[in-house]
Subunit: 434 residues, 4 copies
């Protein structure tokens, strides 16, 4: 877990980024290395540096980098000239994926949803979801939540809370109302009550919604985890008011919070679910929108996209489902690691008066300020730990380790985090004491 400083002579010419890559780039600013290879929980730069990945592509690499089983399946497929790109034609790889997804995911959970292959990005899955909700209900307004994050294309961006992202739209973002998420106004205010009151009131100014769009844990918004009770209330409210319930499970799904879906065993069934990120298992672009059969009122091609048939992703996704979701071992491992994570973060939080956020293997610690969080994550990076922040002020240090991480390695990574937080706090005290 040691990062070798880059020997200057060996560095390739990286001025290309300054010269040709748009200023919109972000992660490469706080992690100024160039990476080449990666396997499991490790990423490697070209100068011998090795980094433990507690970011996992923002939960896109739940099974780690280049998992050998997925990798082999993909190598075999490509070597045999398997179809790479198939628009939405039937292919062997798609059939395998659909059958496996039905057998291992949908059926055991009693879900009769249909699978819509949208363009292979989360934002596209969200756009498809809200388009369908609007079409089916004949209503136009969508309720999203404070601190929600749903994507960057215009329809999904309107559902996203972050002002900086919204500002990029260049046009006013319409047809969406942002209501307070669970706990937004503190523990004493039940925001489900507030929402219900406004929807029941014919003079509240809140138009009848086509859908309520919710994340069970807000990945970008600060790892706020809604309670099952609140989510059930939201589900009931949606139903009572003729709105569809859309769970955006792009970051919290695919095992991140324990089950395949983040809403399992909570006592409600979403009308529509969006999936992406870890769906392919190997980081390949892949997204889905699941919908109750009676909502499947699309005309052929009414929503389409060139890359909705990314067969490489079908192959790795199928391999991932078969390997990780056939039995219960994986879920048990994730549960144990999540508990370990919780225990460790609770200790860190207790030491400094911080707050732990999140659920399962999607947890973090709110250190109270974005500056402190940035200091800590930068120090972690220098120590070989890739870790990022979340929240309205980037004030939550979030641990999104691969779910397959060895318990000991997880602990070692958390050791770094704990140390760097302690160091930063000590420096703060020192400054304050001067």
């Amino acid at each position: 877990m040691i990062t070798t400083p880059e020997p200057s002579g060996a560095i390739p010419d990286r001025t290309i980024y300054e010269r040709r890559e748009s200023a919109v780039r972000s992660y490469s600013r706080s992690m100024p290395r160039q990476f080449g290879k990666a396997e499991g929980v490790w990423m490697h730069d070209g100068q011998g540096g090795r980094y433990l990945d507690f970011l996992s592509g923002c939960s896109t690499l739940n099974y780690g980098h280049n998992h050998p089983i997925l990798k082999q399946a993909l190598l075999d497929y490509i070597a045999a000239d398997g179809i790479a790109h198939g628009l939405d034609l039937h292919t062997d790889a798609k059939q395998d994926f659909l059958a496996t997804f039905e057998e291992l995911i949908l059926k055991p959970r009693g879900l009769d949803h249909r699978v819509m292959f949208t363009g292979p990005t989360g934002t596209n899955a969200v756009e498809a979801a809200i388009k369908l909700a609007r079409k089916v209900t004949g209503r136009e307004m969508v309720i999203a939540f404070t601190n929600g994050f749903h994507g960057m294309t215009l329809g999904a961006l309107a559902c996203t809370g972050n002002a900086a992202k919204r500002g990029g739209a260049g046009v006013p973002l319409s047809h969406v109302a942002h209501e307070p998420y669970d706990g937004y106004y503190g523990a004493d205010v039940d925001t489900a009550d507030l929402l219900e009151q406004r929807l029941a009131d014919p003079s509240s100014g809140l138009d009848a919604p086509a859908a309520i769009l919710v994340e069970t844990v807000q990945g970008e918004g600060g790892l706020n985890a809604a309670s099952p009770e609140w989510l059930r209330r939201i589900a009931d409210i949606a139903k009572a008011h003729g709105a569809l319930l859309i769970v955006d499970d792009i970051q919290a799904g695919c095992g991140r919070t324990g089950g395949f879906f983040s809403f399992e065993d909570m006592g409600f069934t979403p009308d529509i679910v969006t999936l992406a990120k870890s769906l392919s298992g190997m980081g390949l672009p892949f997204a889905l929108t699941l919908l109750r059969p009676e909502l499947d009122q699309w005309s052929p091609g009414e929503h389409n996209g060139t890359f909705r048939g990314n067969n490489h992703a079908f192959v790795t996704a199928t391999a991932a489902l078969k390997h990780f979701w056939s039995g219960g071992d994986f879920q048990r491992d994730v549960k144990r690691r999540g508990d370990l994570l919780e225990t460790r973060l609770a200790r860190i939080a207790a030491d400094h008066g911080f707050e732990v956020r999140g659920r399962g293997m999607m947890r973090g610690v709110n250190v109270g300020s974005g500056e402190l969080a940035a200091t800590v994550t930068a120090a972690c990076f220098d120590a070989g730990l890739i870790i990022e922040t979340s929240g309205a002020y980037d004030e939550v240090i979030k641990v999104l380790a691969p779910l397959v991480i060895d318990d000991a390695v997880l602990g070692a990574g958390l050791d770094i985090l704990e140390t760097k937080i302690r160091d930063a706090m000590a420096a703060d005290y020192a400054v304050a004491a001067e």
Copy 2:
């Protein structure tokens, strides 16, 4: 080129599609086979059927399926545990791509544009383009054109002309005006004049535009090819009125019309260019937005996306650039094949009083009705030729063969097309004669 009927016993259970795939699926309806492998210009179903691909993933497979050089590069990369998913971190694969793209594409064409890695779908590249244009100009209205197609997410969909696609939005599509494309009102009306008049008129109701968004050849809209004169006029009009010129080169770029960009040698330089489809060379999801340096006013992360670092696509894209775009052979081949295509289509059109449309290897024949076109393409499919339609009424049979197709095979495919058109016309006459 013979399609073996599927022996019933060997067919896997395909009811999965009925049971679980959304009704939104489209191509699989007119091409009811299940495909497994593909190489070069050929696709194979699992029952021994072989199909010549004149669709090429809607111009996503310009270099054919699983081109051996691209395929090998990808196999090597995966085998060596190359980074698959890298958010927007610097990676060896990204550096290679950027350096190659600069050296082989941008520099020789005198383009100083920067490269924005958007989400890996065309619609995302378009969304980024219009967001930036609105942000930079402080204006909100975008001018798009009749029959234009730019994507399915809300911002791009507003720029798309097709009513059926637009209807899926479920909300009114705003902040875009559709102006008549070149030739829209017939040869006697110069639609650039019309646009100029409206923009110059402070009382026309057409607000000052942030951008003019145009395809040089309208891939989905019926293979209408704008003249260089008209495009130059549009570029001048944009400049005169403080609007950015965005060329959507997603379908017409990457060699489809001859040059790497469809607007080469036309005497104008777009402010922004969108690329996707054949960019990765192997059908992997990849999209870019190119922008003049002075427009690169993005804040870090202001537009982002989980899959904006699809490194597999970087690898194949780099290999494709090096193989096809280092010298002039490929362009000469494409030019020759395009001429061959034009000659053959002209003959077909002349035989039946049809009209040829398009440019380069992006051509088709307007047979006057969607029904006739569907009859012909269905007959082609039965004869082992995959070919599709385009246009407001799906009345244009479009030939989007891989650019690498052997001249003889191209001719053989066109033989099928010619025969099936003749048969369909004969059947029509027969019906009419009854």
Copy 3:
């Protein structure tokens, strides 16, 4: 105060209404008489019926019908061929109005606002206000409140809370967020806190507002009266977040709540104020938008309207200002009557467990259901008392008597109301007892 039933023989042919008046008509449904004359607090039908007016044109006739001083001023003006319609030309009548308004209203209250003569309807004044706020701030979103009512044209309607009114738009109403009004979530929740939290949070999804638009008492929304503390908080919040504070004083202004403006002596000054309804004093169409001088960034004619120079209204408005607002007598009378009204309503409410709402001479009683309220107001009408309802469910019986009403007559009208409520409640009990 006795209503003579209409003798059938003398009734003119009123089928004209059925034949030619749009179904949109409303008050004439619950008050099916035809009125001819009116003076002071009385309206007369043509069959000898006389009605005490506790509606006052929804607070448009604060000085009663055809007040003799206003009436004479108008008669003199017309007889002398005074300009009736003057676009926005300078006229003697306009000068008189402006000078009087400055002298009697603006100066004594320390207001340096400028006067914008908008089209002569409240909705137009609101449209002008929000247009200006958006123009000046460069922002697009306006914050309005639950149960707010601001007009029926598209911009003002977007700020209106009522779902039935909103539904008439036929397009989604955009660029406005409705936040909870004072007391909306009960006494325990300070909705100013909620608003402040959301505006301070860069990830709340609430865009930076151009303006906060508020009524101090919600005339149509159920006579909810905001506390001075809450209003000051809202004023502070607006200032802190770069938004303009617009007080819509169309119904609550012109003396209805005691002062000329409803926000006097509350410790804050709105950036923009809208006035209409009782401004002309005699029920003639007239509306104004007042704006701080530094906000007066209009270009000439940027907002205009044919009837923005209704000189008849200038004449009666000037007469009203001089007669009622030169000394303090009128305000003292209104204060006394408002107290009388409060006392009487409190007694009624106490008798039946109802709730009193409102402020000054703008008060009502929430009887808990629209049906009960409709029963009561219908019985009042039959007894010669014109009175209407308000609120999301029309559940608030509102007393909007002319401010000039004689105390005894006010008491007599309230006697009718008290009786009819008692009767209706008794009938309810009788039904319940069956």
Copy 4:
């Protein structure tokens, strides 16, 4: 017809305008006098100046100022305590108006339309019209035309073409497409053909319209008069495409172009008609929306407004209808005066190579530049003639004399205009010759 310069001593203090009137004022800038009285075609300032009114309140005073018959009717009504403000209650004045309007206007023209009393401004009538069209058709997009003017509130403003007015909105104006008006692209292009092509084309990007909103003569847009053939085509196109035809007759109606409606005898019947301006006959605020009975799908109060029952206006409107529209004399007079106007303007135009625009008593001369037009109208004003401009560049000098003007006075006014144009042209030549 001589304007006495204002003796400085006698001028009242007019700094009030600078101090307190918003910068939005416009006409008072180019006509810097203060007016007091007016009768017939004459306006008087307080210093003995008398002005011939060729503006007529932008066609609001078609019967001249303070017409004695209308004036007397109003004086009698007020003196008798007639209801001034009646919300939408039935009143004697309303009944008289409705019955008279039915008898003298609707019935003779075979119109079965219902009358909707909107707020008393033109923009409100337009808002009501488009709201209803959207509600009834379930569509959202409205087609308006280049150079159209329909009002300043958000819904009507979106239909208005003028960029300066639109810019005041502060938000993007949506759900309206502006199509080229008759003759917009010159005599050789039939813009009805263009519209038909776009609406028939499922890929044009022009959504199915709720309504087509058109002025038969564009009062603000430069006095462009559509041909009856073109208007019939537009009516047919609306019908064929399921859109309602709305004629905005606010400026061109009430006799201005000869008939009561501007579309009489043209062979089509609008679904909806808006009226305002000269409807009251005396310049009082009054507006109506007429609608076919089957479109009258409003819920009670779904569109309302405090001043929708301006009974003073009902009284003068009724008097005007009875006096001017009972027989054919008035129309014959208007026809003769319109012909006289045409002849005179044609002569002026011929002298200088200008172009005559308009129809009936709504005509003007396009002098080619706003500067020249401003020079001429300023000179006219100094000579005692009130006259204004129109058009995208204010380049059309428009003559909107009262319809009741004496032929000789009309001629005298045109003499002034002719002279001032000649002078301005001579000055131009002199400058050019230097």
